[in-house]
Symmetry: C2
Subunit: 445 residues, 2 copies
């Protein structure tokens, strides 16, 4: 089968082209959305079945969603949003521009409006911000037959029928009934006899990362969200948890690349938005990093009597920075996955000291031979040894700083991924250059 | 309730202590596993119910798993592995040392051995490496009542009962039946009338990242894995997909931190293992980065007549590196999520040019005033302007290189996260220093 960009090159009539395109799986449509003309996009959307429409709408970036909505008739919008899950509708309402938001709101049913208003009250990054209010609730006094009958008659209205939530008269969550248990049991046995009372739930203001961890640890399809009184507010399903994991992943990667963690896709961000996300970090690192200028100025006399030292400044700071960022990456990741805690600091330090010394000795040795044998020519043995020896200490120092900085920053309650970068690289540069020049002035002068 | 480390500080008798510890949720047990004594660990494990045992076993790091297994009786191991999913058993077998592996293997039932041998044939990182062979298969000629009866009688043996897979006489996958549809329909209607024939499946050798994307795009609980003849081999469930997403996340973060992507947890890695993962990258970057030494050597004459230039070398290379790594991060992430393609290169270049120019002008201006007004003293306006102007060009150049390098590397079929780091930072350093010194020699000499 021809792939989508090949099809577009064929220049066949639009109607046939769109039909051929629609034979491709949804991933391919999403992947090529930006190369379709607006005309094709609308045609593809119109000709898709309702499920595909919902999947397209929830997977496309906000700008593309807005484009489609502008072309849909009110009637079409109604059926689309009727089919979408309320938590997705709310995410959607919060992402699009004011004009589209208004037309979406107008096309919601009264029931959906009520649900959306309920959900909009909660913080987006909390457990409650992820939940859907469409779940099955069963009275604690029901029998299995009654429960199954209830599930059958409400299957179309809820996000998952595989768990039902058993509530007492005060709407407090007292048990969870899995459909699996239910279809294995029958008759007039009360549900309270087969429900799980060992309930795994999260409170409404629990951080979304924690919700993800709970669902993962117990391999659950959905986690119930309760308030302080244990009253059930909604459920968070596995698909929303996957979205959270992806989101947090992008945020972490951005932070490591020294940027604020906005989630807007690159090609949809405005130039101003990109600059606003990037420039502050560069300026912070510039201001802090400028300390190196003063360090270097302090040693001007040394350079003038041993000019070759200048040539190795970038290699020294680079290697220190690379080593430090390896250590920091290991710590940041370990802290994020919960493998490393602050209490491990001595264990970490002793390992990093060993790793740093061994790597430093090898790198130092390489530097001695590299400086002596390779151009630029004219470096003597003593000078080469000065450079190699500095490297041993710079590498060791960098592993120690690179590993302790994130642990300390985390302990102080800050985000190590954000704070480690600029702080650490400056400390390493300043310390690395000082080590280098102090060695040089002692050995060579 | 006291938290676990507070409980340990109380020094109450072991039996009571373990009982109090067991009242905490599983996440807390896992989080504190490393501060328990070995004695407590065994007691906690022994006193847990079978579900908790399985969850402990699948969530603990390999070394901790091995410790527990050494203490378990053969009978206990049997019931534990009888309860674990075959794909988890296989992951486990591949992770532990040879001695433990042998005792695990001996304790498996004949059925489990057969399943494990079947699964061990496939590559770990492929769709087939993630699948479980425990799924529900229904004959295409069955009625709904027969199907439901079959599901009831096999519910305990399969990983999920929420989808059943409809096969023809050649074991080819012809439809998917959701339990939801099934309990809404009843009687002797043939399953083929209510099954979905619009099947979303993956081929056995599909990369695990792709499997994750398919499950996410369609919000599925499980994806069937088929061979080239469309014969069903197994299913991949959402919990395994979440594991894949986490794994790939760790790999990506490690690559950005300039390390090989082994997944061994930090505290369980040997010193030698850590060095092997880190040193090769440092050496590559050292060798490539050493080009800067030659660049600097080339300009020795310039330094001797304008020594202040030396002081700004680290700030120039740092800012270039930071800017470049922001651009590279945006590209690497965009390529990974499928938002950015090579075909967008001109769009990307024009945005980065604009972003780079604006950021460069602001940073350049900051540098002019910083150099003139702040220590080290003695910098003249013309010298300050030289530094500022160099910065404008270095920043702009870095955004362009930082964005194009990952796109080109990806286009050539390499992994941009691995390759961009060392290559890019060297190019930026070499180019940045050259820009700086060329400006300086033209303006100042």
């Amino acid at each position: 089968m021809k792939n989508i960009s090949e099809l577009l090159d064929l220049e066949i009539p639009d109607k046939e082209l769109v039909e051929l395109i629609l034979e491709h799986p949804l991933e391919d449509l999403l992947d090529n959305w930006d190369i379709f003309s607006n005309h094709h996009r609308i045609a593809i959307f119109r000709l898709s079945d309702l499920d595909t429409k919902v999947n397209l709408m929830t997977n496309l970036p906000p700008a593309a969603q807005e484009d489609i909505l502008t072309f849909l008739s009110v009637q079409n919008t109604k059926s689309l949003f009727g089919e979408m899950e309320p938590d997705d509708v709310v995410d959607f309402i919060q992402a699009v521009n004011a004009e589209v938001r208004k037309s979406v709101w107008d096309s919601l049913s009264d029931e959906s409006k009520k649900e959306s208003l309920f959900l909009l009250r909660f913080d987006e990054d909390d457990a409650a911000g992820l939940m859907t209010p469409r779940y099955l609730e069963i009275n604690v006094h029901a029998t299995c037959d009654q429960a199954l009958k209830f599930i059958r008659s409400h299957a179309e209205e809820v996000e998952t029928i595989y768990y039902a939530y058993v509530l007492d008269e005060f709407k407090r969550l007292v048990g969870i009934l899995s459909l699996k248990e239910l279809i294995l049991t029958s008759g007039d046995k009360p549900v309270r006899e087969i429900m799980t009372t060992n309930i795994i739930s999260v409170e409404e203001d629990r951080d979304q990362e924690d919700v993800a961890k709970v669902l993962e640890t117990y391999n659950l399809l959905a986690v119930p969200v309760v308030n302080k009184q244990n009253i059930l507010l909604g459920i968070v399903t596995f698909d929303d948890v996957i979205d959270v994991i992806r989101e947090e992943q992008t945020e972490d990667v951005y932070k490591m690349g020294a940027m604020g963690g906005s989630l807007m896709p690159y090609l949809n961000s405005s130039i101003l938005g990109l600059i606003r996300k990037r420039l502050p970090w560069l300026l912070v690192m510039l201001v802090v990093g400028a300390i190196t200028t003063n360090v270097l100025d302090h040693y001007t006399g040394l350079f003038l009597s041993a000019a070759f030292l200048i040539n190795f400044i970038p290699v020294i700071t680079q290697t220190g920075g690379n080593t430090g960022s390896q250590s920091a990456t290991l710590m940041i990741r370990g802290l994020a996955t919960g493998e490393i805690h602050f209490r491990d600091i001595w264990k970490v330090l002793s390992r990093e000291l060993l790793v740093g010394l061994v790597m430093g000795l090898i790198i130092g040795l390489v530097m001695v031979f590299r400086s002596y044998y390779l151009p630029p020519a004219g470096i003597e043995w003593l000078q080469a040894i000065t450079i190699g020896l500095s490297m041993v200490f710079v590498v060791t120092f960098s592993t120690l700083i690179g590993s302790t900085a994130p642990l300390l920053i985390h302990k102080l309650g800050f985000d190590p991924a954000v704070m480690s970068g600029p702080l650490m690289s400056t400390v390493i540069d300043v310390a690395g250059l000082t080590i280098y020049f102090e060695f040089a002035s002692r050995i060579l002068l």
